[in-house]
């Protein structure tokens, strides 16, 4: 592959951002070719947080490897776990009880809310606004508390397992979320009041970091990043899993493609998540929290792929099984962040260094997800 930044020319001025930089939210290293303040090219350098999760998974059983996916995109832990569980269930042709489907969908949407809240917090912080950070963390804290009550963890869940859930949800699960949604719906309008209309924030985002639909398609961008460029790619709509085909919600699509459009897509998605949750909470059926799955799982020989929509875009699990052993022959994860990051050079070409930070904030990158 051709490196995007040519460093052969000794007159080029290369600036390193990261791997220890507060605005990259992790150990991302960017090499930027600049002229004055103008960015000519950006090359992301990966590998600082590579843990070889795919390779490690080959030595683990189908039950064991799932807990590792919580450590990739840690803000979408439930969705990552769900993708693995679904891939295994589809391979085994296990039908999970309706109750499990409901609860899984609820947990996924709560995760999306929590993830978008954290993104909003960090987005404000990156552009110099500190208050949003505290506001969003106040709201997110309540969701992590719910998670802690349900699965005992706040970040690395491992609650969704092949065949169902680790254990049943506690008493008053739905009521708790309902109360939370009532308060959050009110505070969500504060988000708009504080940041969306702010002139400085608008000035730094509108028209900055434009990604065209063609580029988004060419680089495999998914999630809010692609939808802000007019590309319809919501896995929940296109390849529905669990309860999503029975729910009414909109796929938010904007066409501007700039940082502000990405911002607006995520804010609108939060309203959609609330809408989805409201449809589900009243109807959780009674039933088992697990389908019958053997203790030692062996998949039939073949290839299995399952995709889900995480807060960042399409997350895919590709499993190759040899049909004999109880661990996967090969596992490949398709992480949304990597493709979204790959489009960064196109968004920032010709922009100023200060804009790079704004654009990266709007991409909502989670580095352990990009580099696994």
């Amino acid at each position: 592959m051709q490196p995007t930044v040519e460093v052969l020319n000794e007159r080029d001025y290369i600036l390193n951002v990261g791997p220890q930089h507060p605005s990259t939210h992790g150990v991302l290293h960017l090499r930027i070719k600049i002229e004055g303040e103008t960015i000519l090219d950006v090359e992301p350098v990966l590998g600082y947080i590579h843990r070889s999760i795919e390779k490690m998974s080959e030595a683990l059983t189908y039950r064991q490897f799932i807990q590792m996916t919580s450590r990739m995109d840690y803000l979408s832990a439930h969705m990552n776990n769900l993708a693995c569980a679904l891939a295994i269930e589809n391979a085994l042709q296990v039908e999970v009880p309706d109750k499990v489907k409901y609860i899984r969908t609820i947990l996924c949407e709560l995760t999306r809310l929590a993830s978008h809240q954290l993104w909003w917090a960090a987005n404000g912080l990156d552009l110099g606004a500190v208050t949003p950070f505290f506001l969003a963390f106040r709201d997110r804290e309540a969701i992590t508390d719910i998670f802690e009550e349900v699965c005992g963890s706040r970040l690395t869940m491992n609650y969704i397992v092949p065949g169902g859930l680790m254990e049943d949800v506690p008493e008053g699960f739905a009521d708790k979320i309902k109360t939370y949604l009532d308060t959050f719906e009110r505070t969500l309008s504060e988000y708009d009041q504080l940041l969306t209309g702010n002139e400085i924030f608008r000035g730094r985002n509108i028209g900055v970091g434009v990604l065209t639909k063609e580029e988004a398609l060419a680089y495999g961008c998914t999630g809010p990043v692609a939808r802000a460029s007019g590309l319809s790619c919501d896995v929940r709509k296109w390849f529905p899993y669990e309860m999503y085909d029975k729910l009414s919600f909109e796929e938010i699509i904007l066409t501007e493609g700039d940082s502000y459009a990405r911002y607006k897509v995520r804010i609108a998605e939060m309203y959609q998540s609330i809408k989805i949750l409201r449809q589900l909470l009243d109807g959780i059926p009674e039933g088992d929290f697990q389908a019958k799955v053997k203790k030692i799982i062996k998949l039939p020989a073949g290839e299995f792929y399952q995709r889900v929509e995480t807060a960042r875009g399409e997350f895919g699990v590709y499993i190759v099984s040899d049909g004999k052993s109880s661990s996967p022959y090969r596992i490949k994860f398709r992480s949304p962040g990597l493709s979204n990051l790959a489009a960064l050079p196109f968004m920032t070409k010709g922009a100023k260094i200060g804009d790079l930070i704004a654009v990266m904030a709007s991409l909502d990158l989670v580095i352990p997800d990009i580099d696994r």
Binding site: L60, Q64, F65, R138, S153, N158, E167, P170, N198
Partner: protein, 155 residues
């Protein structure tokens, strides 16, 4: 003219945000921040919180672990080691018994797969979460208490 309009828009949009800050400043409902470690006594964690792994013991110092190693096999990280011993029972038969349940705290990812795997429900995730130590070796823990025995019903 546009120049002044820009200034007006910028200032008014910022005042709009400041209004929220001001309202929160004047109408605080309750403090959301918790003062840790001052609140240790009143701190309530949810019952399922995964803080540490324990082997459940009864008041008579009995546990439910038969030493079957199912948890050792279920663990993704090789965190658990079951060391068993042979023991004479009353009727002269030799039986496998648990000698030491070794749990390496530093290697645990708190996935609770071991708790799920145990056929006799001997394990539990407990709430404690303050484990700072000065030496890595101190995180190597023996979970069965000194002089503990298997409960009668599982013998």
């Amino acid at each position: 003219m546009g120049y002044f309009k820009d200034i007006y828009v910028a200032v008014s949009s910022m005042l709009e945000g400041m209004k929220l800050t001001g309202r929160n400043f004047l109408h605080f409902r309750k403090y959301l921040t918790q003062e840790y470690p001052e609140n240790r006594d009143s701190l309530v964690l949810s019952p399922r919180f995964k803080g540490e792994l324990i082997l459940k013991h009864t008041l008579e110092n009995e546990h439910r672990c038969t030493g079957c190693s199912a948890c050792e096999l279920a663990c993704p990280n090789g965190t658990i080691r079951i060391i068993s011993k042979r023991e004479e029972t009353a009727d002269g038969k030799s039986k496998k018994r648990l000698d030491a349940f070794v749990w390496q705290h530093a290697m645990c990812t708190f996935c609770a797969l071991c708790v799920d795997a145990c056929p006799t429900d001997a394990l539990k995730m407990d709430q404690a979460f303050e484990f700072a130590v000065t030496d890595r070796a101190m995180l190597m823990k023996k979970l069965n208490k000194e002089g503990s025995n298997l409960v009668e019903e599982l013998k």
